[in-house]
């Protein structure tokens, strides 16, 4: 699976301060660390970029490109910051992201055409995030058709089913999984991408990793092509490279409805089984899901 490093994200205090102070060294340290950890792309998330969007967009892209050749996934809802950044990318970037919202169709998608980028298109519309698989299908068919009409081919589109936190709406975890499973039949040629860490948003920090890793393995089984993820988690990168084979098999067992016997397993393996059960919706989530 292609990993897009998520760690240059405006929501992080280190990053927001570095961007505000134009502290290139801090940003470059994060870029280098992610490149060394095995990222295939770097996501640069600027958020709404209300102040000096053009300047911030160009500064960030240039700063990162000074230390790495990795392609960039530029992530902002501000079209001005997006355009300034895309114009400077040396390798073909990903525009992250467009959606079925009217504003996005009007202001973001044309930038993907103008700068010949790849583009992430999410299932969100002006009505919000669709509540189930069928509504996601309906939304994405419409939005991708619109993008095709602008001249964006399926091969340049990454579809994002929108991952919601298991702690907020457990049912949505399974809905997104099912959507990924049927996507290839639905829209031949498109690739899939998720904001993986969102599944563990709201979960205590020390427990987030295992949720992210387990969900990654589950999504991958259903054909996920890429994930914006915490590449600074070595266990996640290791799992993605195929390591820890028995853990993958245990998770797959839970997905196939097997009664996985946990009593003889090492604690770590048991934790992955418990996590897979919660993500599949077989057990009710609580922050203490590993303790019962």
């Amino acid at each position: 699976m292609i990993l897009i490093g998520e760690n240059i994200h405006i929501i992080s205090k280190v990053v927001s301060e570095a961007v505000r102070n134009r502290d290139a060294a801090a940003i470059q340290a994060l870029a280098t660390a992610q490149a060394q950890a095995g990222a295939d792309y770097l996501d640069l998330n600027l958020g709404p970029a209300r102040r000096d969007p053009e300047e911030v967009g160009s500064w960030l892209v240039n700063t990162v490109q000074e230390v790495t050749d990795l392609p960039i996934s530029l992530d902002t809802m501000n079209p001005a910051a997006m355009e300034a950044g895309l114009a400077l990318c040396k390798t073909r970037p990903i525009l992250n992201s467009a959606s079925g919202k009217a504003e996005s169709k009007e202001l973001m998608m044309p930038l993907a055409v103008k700068y010949n980028t790849q583009v992430i298109i999410s299932v969100i519309t002006d009505l919000g995030c669709p509540p189930d698989v069928d509504a996601r299908v309906e939304s994405i068919m419409e939005t991708v058709a619109y993008a095709n009409g602008l001249g964006i081919s399926n091969e340049d589109i990454f579809v994002d089913p929108i991952i919601l936190p298991v702690s907020a709406d457990q049912k949505q975890v399974r809905e997104a999984l099912e959507f990924v499973r049927i996507l290839a039949d639905l829209l031949p040629g498109v690739r899939s991408v998720v904001g993986l860490s969102n599944v563990s948003n709201g979960t205590p920090a020390h427990l987030r990793g295992i949720l992210n890793r387990t969900y990654m393995v589950m999504l991958e089984k259903y054909g996920l092509y890429s994930a914006i993820a915490d590449v600074l988690d070595p266990e996640l990168v290791g799992l993605n490279r195929g390591g820890i084979k028995d853990i993958r098999e245990l998770i797959h067992g839970v997905m196939e409805g097997e009664q996985v016997e946990t009593s003889g397993l090492p604690e770590k393996a048991r934790d992955y089984v418990k996590t897979a059960r919660v993500l599949m919706g077989d057990a009710l989530y609580s922050h203490a899901w590993l303790e019962s």
Partner: protein, 301 residues
């Protein structure tokens, strides 16, 4: 050919919790059916109704709800006995007077009062602290120690204070009320934590009961889902009975305070709704509603 209605059977069964000891005891929970689905299987125990007593002279109670107890509100033991004469299955004592924002009675005084009531009352007792996390640790620990072996149902414990209170409850042979703010995930988390200190047969869930018009539908949904998760899906951490402490929520509403009939309707409609959702103990204030709810539970309405 005779028609036979299809019946659902479930994998889970609620834990049976006994409150009180000896001939005073009542049992709740134990069923492997959904609320009031008596046709589906064994309702080991039906929902019970408690009437509320406080240690603060019914301060803040509207006259029309305190009325039946007017002459005994300053004597909680007599008040409790009156509740039983008026048809309650058990009594729920609220230690309102220990609230640091109010009378701030010391823990020892509260513990002595509870001991006096359990000694003189021929019925099981539920004891609620004032809801102040810190004060409740002192008060409920003292109550648990003073009434060792009486098997009270003591609470509420919340995520901020459960450890110390659960230890005292376990050591002195009582049951505990696990309270969470209308959130099924937090409810399960607290249950999981408490299960390290107490067996499930000693735990009762309080998901918080909101009154009609003040969020009752949220309480309803959480109780309904708790029951489904425990009985239908067999989640062991969600198989404890539920207490709905709703009387006080209903009677503090302005419309209920202003008018007796409105108050009676407010309390009875909320109670019947939460009964349908899955409550195993209903805590009410008015004895007429106690009688009404007992009829509803027996299917006589």
């Amino acid at each position: 050919m005779q028609y036979k209605a299809p019946l659902e059977t479930y994998t889970g069964r609620l834990k049976e919790v006994t409150i009180g000891s000896g001939r005073k005891a009542v049992r709740i929970g134990g069923q492997n059916i959904l609320p009031l689905h008596y046709f589906e299987g064994a309702a080991a125990n039906r929902c019970v109704v408690a009437l509320e007593v406080d240690d603060n002279g019914a301060a803040g109670w509207a006259g029309h709800v305190a009325g039946p107890f007017r002459d005994v509100v300053n004597d909680p033991l007599k008040w409790a006995k009156r509740c039983m004469e008026m048809g309650a299955d058990l009594v729920c004592l609220h230690l309102e007077g220990t609230d640091p924002q109010g009378s701030n009675k010391p823990a020892a005084e509260a513990a002595a009062l509870v001991k006096e009531i359990t000694g003189g009352l021929d019925a099981p007792l539920v004891v609620y602290g004032c809801g102040d996390d810190k004060k409740d640790i002192e008060v409920l620990t003292a109550v648990a120690e003073a009434c060792k072996g009486d098997n009270l149902l003591i609470g509420p414990v919340v995520k901020e204070n459960y450890e110390a209170i659960a230890r005292a409850v376990a050591e002195n042979g009582h049951c505990i009320i696990a309270q969470t703010p209308i959130d099924i995930n937090l409810e399960k988390e607290l249950n999981v934590k408490l299960l390290k200190q107490l067996p499930p047969e000693k735990i009762v869930i309080d998901p918080l009961s909101s009154a009609l018009g003040y969020g009752m539908e949220y309480s309803f949904t959480i109780m309904e889902r708790s029951r489904q998760v425990g009985v239908v899906y067999g989640d062991m951490a969600m198989q404890m009975p539920i207490i709905a402490d709703l009387g006080r929520e209903c009677w503090k509403i302005n419309q209920a305070r202003a008018d007796a009939e409105q108050g009676m309707l407010w309390e009875s409609i909320t109670a019947i709704s939460l009964l349908l959702a899955g409550a195993d103990i209903l805590v009410l204030r008015h004895p007429d509603n106690c009688r009404l709810l007992k009829e509803a539970i027996e299917g006589k309405l």
